[in-house]
């Protein structure tokens, strides 16, 4: 399968600050990809680079084999629902659909109208009067009816209440089930993505920490609990993601492809949320070490 998104040492700088650096990624087609990371990790920057809204400062990126926003054909292949799902406040719902129809050659007018009807939106209503959830649904409708090969959603549910959140993601899932296309969506909450994603990218401090299919990640990451032990006494195939120690006990999150035989450890499976938190924790652990060294 071809890659939907391939980045090679990709970087983007704002002034002197790197919002994203040395990002090397290869996302295969046909997945619903969750891009997770804390606020300010560079998620929006990566997605905007993929959508062609930004140009890279370093490295390069190809999306569906082409340069992002390289021309009308490339734009037609990629749908983009921006953060806070902006719509034109002065235009009605119907006029938004007309906008989509006029600006997209592959526009699916029937689906768009049918979706709006199913959502119970009044086509004559101005988009500025819609609730946050309705606005997000309208933006999603625009993205879906474009019939893209890749749909990018930047924090689509972060400003929605739990009910609207669930509804939005449910609609997204139904759409991906009906027609095969790839989705990349970002969130700072793993919880939002847990049910919908089958591929995960964790971005922390403007760097990619881990990528992979969710099932693989869950199968290769384990939590070990047991008597206190230094990390350098772990077997060679076990990579420490995070470590916690009390006086007597050590808790490790490790990544390994090999089975764990050491009877001293209590091995437990990780939830996706634990796994992501372990990678985010890695950052704070590094900082702690750095602080101790400075002292």
């Amino acid at each position: 399968m071809t890659a939907v998104l391939r980045a090679q040492a990709l970087g983007r700088r704002y002034g002197r600050r790197w919002a994203l650096r040395e990002c090397t990624l290869d996302i295969p087609a046909g997945h619903v990809v969750g891009l997770v990371g804390p606020n300010g990790a560079g998620k929006t920057t990566l997605l905007k680079l993929a959508g062609g809204q930004l140009t890279p400062t370093a490295g390069d990126i190809t999306v569906l084999g082409g340069r992002p926003a390289g021309g009308p054909a490339q734009l037609a292949k990629v749908g983009f629902v921006a953060q806070d799902t902006p719509v034109y406040a002065g235009l009605s719902v119907a006029e938004h659909l007309r906008l989509g129809e006029q600006l997209n050659p592959r526009w699916d007018a029937a689906t768009a109208r049918e979706r709006i009807a199913r959502l119970g939106l009044d086509p004559a209503q101005r988009a500025g009067r819609l609730s946050g959830g309705q606005r997000a649904q309208l933006a999603l409708t625009l993205g879906l009816a474009k019939r893209p090969e890749l749909l990018i959603l930047d924090e689509p549910v972060s400003s929605l209440d739990p009910l609207a959140r669930r509804e939005f993601l449910q609609h997204l899932m139904e759409a991906t089930a009906e027609r095969r296309f790839s989705v990349v969506l970002s969130s700072h909450l793993v919880h939002d993505l847990e049910r919908v994603c089958d591929f995960l990218v964790v971005l922390v401090d403007s760097r990619v920490r881990v990528t992979g299919e969710v099932d693989d990640l869950l199968a290769t990451h384990h939590r070990l609990t047991g008597p206190r032990r230094d990390p350098d006494r772990l077997p060679a195939g076990q990579h420490v993601i995070s470590a916690r120690h009390t006086d007597r006990q050590s808790t490790y999150v490790i990544r390994t492809d090999d089975p764990i035989h050491d009877p001293a450890w209590t091995v437990s499976r990780l939830s996706l949320e634990d796994l992501v938190l372990a990678y985010m924790d890695q950052r704070t652990a590094e900082r702690r070490v750095a602080l101790e060294v400075q002292r």
Binding site: A69, P72, L75
Partner: protein, 348 residues
């Protein structure tokens, strides 16, 4: 894209068009009457040679509407830049809707091309129509205006003919470009206004006088070319002459320089209170007792003093209009190129 542009633009375009229709109706109703008054007045005054008085009276009766209309034509391009140009990009950036529209299946360059084309042409059409309508209406007044409000005068020139069209195109694209650089609506509007005002001032002060080499000529002094003579009452000192800012036989010319030359052809400095003429004021035609100043002017002329004027004649009105519109068209093209370059790579 044309539909979207029109949908977002139709409100303000319709408002402007409606105001313009009102203005057109008012001008169409009063214009023929004004022209009739003028020709009747001229027919009457030619017989008893009192046309100067008629001009003053006729112009004085309509000077408020004359100034107001000229102001409208001068301001219209600035409004296009302020309210159509500057917010074009900044409003999208502030609402985040650029992320919506630039992710449909059209390139940003195409989006900008349609926006610039449709809105820019509308701004040009409205400003051009307004300018030509006012030019037609004010024609009798322009013929009877005093020198400093004649057709070639800096304030009036820009409110007549086709130049407003060039100004509108330029102001609109200037607003768009400033908006791209500044990215916020209010600062962009302020900056657009400041930049446009500066350019509109620099044009008549620095550029327009040199669009064609001005004509310099010397003239004999006569009653009509002298504004005032001051003759000291106590005698002894020399008389001072102030010239009228007009060129004899060149009504409506734009006078750039106007000096008195002494008999040897040197320019006499004039520091606001008139040029000093070396002739006796104790006796002869320039003495305070000699009655009206006419004899004194004749005497000064006989001594060899001459008026030297540098000017752009009225016949150059249309050539100047075309040249100036061309300059603004070039500036507009330059800024358009800049904004396309900017929206392709820099803006996001």
């Amino acid at each position: 894209m044309i539909w979207l542009t029109w949908r977002q633009f139709r409100g303000s375009a319709a408002t402007m068009a409606a105001l313009l229709v009102l203005l057109a109706a008012a001008l169409a109703l009063t214009g023929p009457g004004l022209a009739a008054d003028y020709s009747a007045g001229i027919a009457a005054c030619v017989q008893d040679n009192t046309c100067d008085r008629f001009y003053d009276h006729f112009f004085g009766g309509h000077d408020t509407s004359f100034m107001a209309l000229s102001l409208v034509v001068l301001l219209l391009p600035a409004l296009a830049g302020l309210f159509w140009g500057a917010p074009l990009i900044t409003r999208e950036l502030e609402a985040g809707t650029h992320l919506l529209v630039w992710n449909q299946s059209i390139t940003r360059a195409r989006w900008l091309a349609v926006k610039l084309g449709l809105m820019g042409l509308t701004a040009m059409a409205l400003a051009g129509l307004c300018g030509l309508m006012v030019t037609w209406w004010a024609d009798p007044l322009d013929r009877s205006a005093a020198e400093n409000l004649a057709l070639m005068a800096p304030l009036v020139f820009g409110a007549r003919g086709i130049a407003p069209m060039g100004y509108a195109a330029f102001a609109f694209v200037l607003g768009v470009s400033v908006g791209m650089l500044v990215r916020r609506t209010l600062p962009a509007m302020v900056l657009t206004l400041a930049a446009f005002a500066a350019i509109q001032l620099a044009m008549p002060l620095l550029v327009r006088p040199h669009l064609m080499p001005p004509i310099t000529a010397t003239f004999e002094l006569s009653k009509t070319s002298v504004d005032s003579i001051s003759i000291p009452r106590d005698g002894g000192a020399n008389p001072r002459i102030s010239l009228r800012p007009a060129v004899p036989g060149q009504a409506g010319a734009w006078v750039l320089a106007n000096d008195l030359l002494d008999p040897s052809g040197r320019m006499i400095p004039d520091r606001g209170e008139g040029a000093v003429v070396a002739t006796s004021t104790t006796s002869g035609p320039c003495a305070p007792t000699a009655g009206s100043g006419d004899g004194c002017v004749a005497e000064i002329n006989r001594l060899g003093y001459r008026q030297q004027a540098t000017y752009q004649p009225l016949e150059r009105f249309w050539p100047f209009q075309w040249i100036e519109t061309g300059i603004y068209a070039l500036l507009t093209l330059g800024l358009t190129w800049l904004s396309f370059w900017w929206i392709r790579g820099r803006l996001s």
